[in-house]
Symmetry: C2
Subunit: 328 residues, 2 copies
Amino acid sequence: MPTIRDVAQHAGVSMKSVSRVLNGEAHVRPQLRDRVMAAVEALDFRPNLAARQLAGHKSFIIAYPFNNPSAAYITEILMGAARTCRDHGYHLVSEPVELDDQMLPVIERLITTLRPDGMILTPPLCDMPAVVEHVARFKVPLVRIAGGLDLYGESIVIDDRTISRAMVAHLMEKGHRRIGFVLPHPEHALAQRRFRGYLDGLAEAGIEPEPALIQPGRFDLESGAQAAAALLDLPLPPTAIFASNDDMALGALRVAHSRGLSVPDDLAIAGFDDSPASRLAYPALTTVRQPTQLLGAAAATILLGGALDPAAIKHELLIRGSTAKLAG
Amino acid sequence: MPTIRDVAQHAGVSMKSVSRVLNGEAHVRPQLRDRVMAAVEALDFRPNLAARQLAGHKSFIIAYPFNNPSAAYITEILMGAARTCRDHGYHLVSEPVELDDQMLPVIERLITTLRPDGMILTPPLCDMPAVVEHVARFKVPLVRIAGGLDLYGESIVIDDRTISRAMVAHLMEKGHRRIGFVLPHPEHALAQRRFRGYLDGLAEAGIEPEPALIQPGRFDLESGAQAAAALLDLPLPPTAIFASNDDMALGALRVAHSRGLSVPDDLAIAGFDDSPASRLAYPALTTVRQPTQLLGAAAATILLGGALDPAAIKHELLIRGSTAKLAG
DNA sequence: TTGAAAGCGCTAACAC
DNA sequence: GTGTTAGCGCTTTCAA
């Protein structure tokens, strides 16, 4: 493997000049630049990351420790962020983290051995004060995605509230007046936002929220099924159920199926997330698509010093079979 | 941040001794070892990866470039491999790769800048000769998971064939004699194995395979739905459909639902992979669980020079609602 | 079993 | 604008 020294000799310039060209520094005459590039090509030179890291006190690494809320979410974030990193000569190092007593040590090891130039955190890690403070202590630039706003680091927040309201409006359009809601896992920062959106939607139609129509959830199929069962057992059951994520909506769908209710004829069901399973279900679930890859890309962009267009980060309502019929 | 030099001074030994202790080299007197460790503790010393890489010509990095067949699969491999890496002081760097003209350059950049000590490849990348040969050219130790056997690198193969046969046997036990099969994507190395298992299962019961009952598939919901439609349109349709992955089985489930067929009463459906959606479907899909995390861990173990117990890598039949009824 | 010296391949700081 | 020098923090080699 050729080194910078070889390139410098081949081009008849100093090592520093080669370094300058390679790093795109200013004040380099085009002529010298060309000579260096020619030598780089000729020798098929590849800079050694380790040497750059050591000498330059930069790692060219963004770390993404994650705890697995959903495989689809993780990979989308990963892909968005990794691609952005790659375009800037950076690398993304992702590392699974358990929510046990090894959590902090693992993150600490990630920071102290890799010395990443930045870090991305998603729920639930991004909302755990112990984790965020740990990162803050090492002064690693941090971007938190979809978390609360009151901790160290930049936040990328998405407007769950507005889109939740839009979903309720969609159900209203379909003629639904009694809309059950399955709450998000209470420990997620987005819980408030999605619930508020539901209330907004009702308010917009001049409908009073009804406590019995609002059921707790924990983001898993089981809790969705339980909530749906409770809703359908009501003396006056809802004609539509809006679950605040897809897994819970699929739980509701399962209950409907097992009770012989036809979806969407007897009951409309809507979810949130556009999970792969929501597409594969029968009927396919009406849901909300989050621009997850974009979120990952945006996080990386921020860390790499780029500008971000917050307007680009928009939810999208995906109307599918599970809410395709008019109520009544 | 303290350096080895600081630790050496603090302990009153040479830098080399500290290095020896840290790397667990032999020929170190316990007494010296203890003194060094005490200094490490006292100073909260963390070795700098970049410096170790540069001086030691080792990167402590395993690379995992992947193309996204399924998010669940990717994250499981990732988690298994990353955890093993971590336990050995290594890091896993994963990188999404598109199947376009950037594919080879991206992989090359991954190799030449990171200089990984090993690489893991999963389908479809692990079966693409261009990719594997590229890796071979750089002499990066490679482990391929679930691929063919005729390329550079170690292979971790799993016995799809035996478990496919077991699935057919299960359906036979339920009284099914006409079992439709939806073939895997033909470009995957596992295609032959899963199909053979189906044939084995029939042969075991003394049943001749019937060409009309064997439909092509491409691993996506659409192709599964098409195959199921074709099977159900047969003059003598099957009473069970075994799709060679879950997405296609869910396509079959969708067709059954939309035709008003009850699953499993009118039609049994089985899949392969234990995807999240297979658990969330109604009825839940009978399927095959692959020990995906173990595969990732095994791949890392091999690269890190560990021994592997091939017997540990076993499929598991998951009997769920979609095949719960006796045929007839 | 331990230590001293040299150097991994690059960039920072400074001089010119 | 370009070159020179001196390291970055560790491991290797070789000597003791």
